[in-house]
Symmetry: C2
Subunit: 254 residues, 2 copies
Amino acid sequence: MSKPLILVTNDDGFYAPGIEALTEVAKKFGQVIKIAPDKPQSGMGHAITINSTLRIQKMHESEEFSAYQCTGTPVDCVKIALDVVLDRKPDLIISGINHGSNASINVIYSGTMSAALEGYIEGVPSIGFSLLDHSIEADFTAAKHFAEKVIKQALAHEGKNYCLNVNIPRLNHTLIKGIKVCRQAHAKWQEEFDKRQDPSGQDYYWLTGHFVPFEDHQEDTDLWALENGYVSIVPVSYDLTHFKVLEEITSWNL
Amino acid sequence: MSKPLILVTNDDGFYAPGIEALTEVAKKFGQVIKIAPDKPQSGMGHAITINSTLRIQKMHESEEFSAYQCTGTPVDCVKIALDVVLDRKPDLIISGINHGSNASINVIYSGTMSAALEGYIEGVPSIGFSLLDHSIEADFTAAKHFAEKVIKQALAHEGKNYCLNVNIPRLNHTLIKGIKVCRQAHAKWQEEFDKRQDPSGQDYYWLTGHFVPFEDHQEDTDLWALENGYVSIVPVSYDLTHFKVLEEITSWNL
């Protein structure tokens, strides 16, 4: 039987330490193809490039490991990998390791998680990994340890399709209590735009904000798991139908 | 009682005929603020601008109607409207009318629907409208008729929070049979990248593709409704948790 084929991508860009760490882990399991954006693409959500063109550049090629840069978004990377670069469907797509949390509502804005979700839509089991540390010098030791554990289980359960959102707390890995499968905690970012003036006196704005939970941290949520020293795994869906609201508005006079 | 305050945005850009049509409808119901991207932003999904700055420009101001252009994405428009431009929370956010379908999996890639979803996350009832006609010269008569109907019902049910994905078939409005509340049909886009060479002989790619349904069109889906002459309404959620997969992977050895 041939080795598993694993596609690795991210949103922090080709040279981010996080994807370097994830690629190292992936190489323990099979043949690895890395295709990542040629520049940081954080906060790109599920954006795709439809009004301009894409280019890819081969950066490395060997039997066990090839690497490409792509000029597009994280979702573009997955699309062009599956249609143009790969000669067979990968066994697994992994995205990250993101520098910073993608727990709770962050999943919606995250290029890392949108790349994983795109893999799932395409019928490939996909996992996004994020470490709760924005620093470029973040310590990925614990994240690598748990990424290996999750990837091992994913490859052991072939034939299933899913998208997992894995977040790793910023703790020494000996202090992490284990892994919890959770639901997405309900929360939002409260904007506080920072208004400034350019040298010609014109206003411009920087997006800033703070995190606002909508509920006390329930034990079944990702935020609870992370705050209590666990790695969180939230399975993600591309069916956005809100069935409860669906029932409610059937009584509207439409 | 003061008139409803309605925020109008889109992803096709400030000057698109679709937002002109939606603004006309909105003016029948209350005070309208239009804040739209200064350039087309189709396919931007839930992208936000975090690594660069935003500007807004006032284009029109009167008691009943103000209009602004924003340099950001559709989601940026909603964020900056709520934090910077508006002095009170709007009663309703409407997005569109999009030139082209946002039914089924398109909801994930759509800037129009991501703007509406952002409004919902912010606690404001939000509705995205899309007409199944990409043309810049599309006839919005039917779309306006049904948008008015849906907005009237939305304002009559104040105090609820939701996000609705409304798609209008490309039919004369006398031929449209009515409105159906539906679930999102499961489908994907199958990529077919179009490979070309630039004048220096370097490869580049255009994203193209065709639509692939994952299921026969069930009567409870948006695709069925649209193909059978109905306007479709799918309520959308920002909780992406896939509860069925959640149950399945609790048996993994994690």
